[in-house]
């Protein structure tokens, strides 16, 4: 059932489904954390992947749906020797998060409009990101390199 301890790293995937409610955030974070630990994600990589997944999910919760119905969001992680791929698919209205304007980073904090901060974090934390509309779904794919990750300073 469990893949052998990857050395060299075998390709492994994790597939999750989340409902569009805040209570899901913690459950998903714990699954991702376990997966990262099991497959030896470097600490900064696991950190950045977790921040990105939170920001994408809450963005979907807040902006994707016109109704108040329950929706399912698919989250897929794939890791190999080089990088972690994160794919998130929702059935909300067409929404390209990469088209949102960047947040104000110059105004004094107390007066800042922080809209767009989450998306800005994502763009800065991953090495590659792409959005596409596929049928009735939004598909966001992010890639984070395991080595040569943006240094944390």
């Amino acid at each position: 059932m469990c893949p052998p301890r990857p050395e060299p790293r075998a390709r492994a995937t994790l597939q999750l489904r989340a409902r569009n409610e805040l209570a899901e955030i913690g459950r998903i974070a714990e699954r991702v954390e376990s997966f990262g630990a099991e497959h030896g994600f470097p600490k900064p990589v696991l950190h950045d992947v977790q921040v990105c997944i939170d920001e994408v999910l809450v963005n979907i919760f807040n902006h994707a749906y016109d109704d108040s119905a329950s929706h399912e969001i698919e989250i897929r992680l794939e890791v190999d020797e080089r990088r972690v791929l994160i794919e998130i698919v929702d059935d909300g209205r067409p929404f390209d998060p990469l088209a949102s304007p960047p947040p104000e980073l110059v105004a004094a904090a107390a007066r800042r409009n922080l809209g767009g901060l989450g998306i800005y974090f994502i763009r800065r934390l991953v090495d590659h990101i792409a959005y596409e509309r596929v049928g009735d779904t939004n598909r966001l794919v992010m890639s984070k390199n395991l080595r040569g990750a943006a240094p944390a300073d």
């Binding site: 805040l22 904090a109 901060l117 800005y120 934390l125 300073d153």
Partner: protein, 112 residues
């Protein structure tokens, strides 16, 4: 996330443990607001046991910072893991907040 609250003389140390994420940021904000409303004017948020903070957490911190400025008090952040500090840099928050390496340095700063 759970939150430790510790009174150290006139300083209140708030120590969130775990994830300050979209689901838990509001609870952290509640702790900070209660401390300020309760009369605390020297508040420390200790990030020592924080795994990560997302944009929702930054919003809670900015609300607390504004509240503390209005109350003419002082807010300091400390104990930040490297990855957490990286997000403060990306978001250009390092000038907005007083960020110190350790709780001890916050206490000596606030003793002045």
């Amino acid at each position: 996330m759970d939150v430790g609250v510790e009174h150290l003389g006139r300083v209140v140390r708030i120590a969130p443990r775990g994830r300050i994420d979209s689901a838990s940021a509001e609870a952290l904000g509640g702790h900070l607001t209660r401390a300020i409303d309760g009369g605390c004017r020297h508040l420390v948020v200790d990030f020592r046991d924080v795994k990560y903070i997302t944009s929702a957490g930054f919003r809670a911190l900015l609300v607390a910072d504004a509240g503390m400025r209005e109350a003419e008090g002082h807010l300091a952040l400390c104990g930040m893991p490297r990855e957490v500090h990286n997000l403060f840099q990306i978001g250009a928050f390092t000038e907005d907040f007083l960020i110190l390496p350790s709780l001890e340095e916050c206490l000596s700063r606030f003793a002045e």
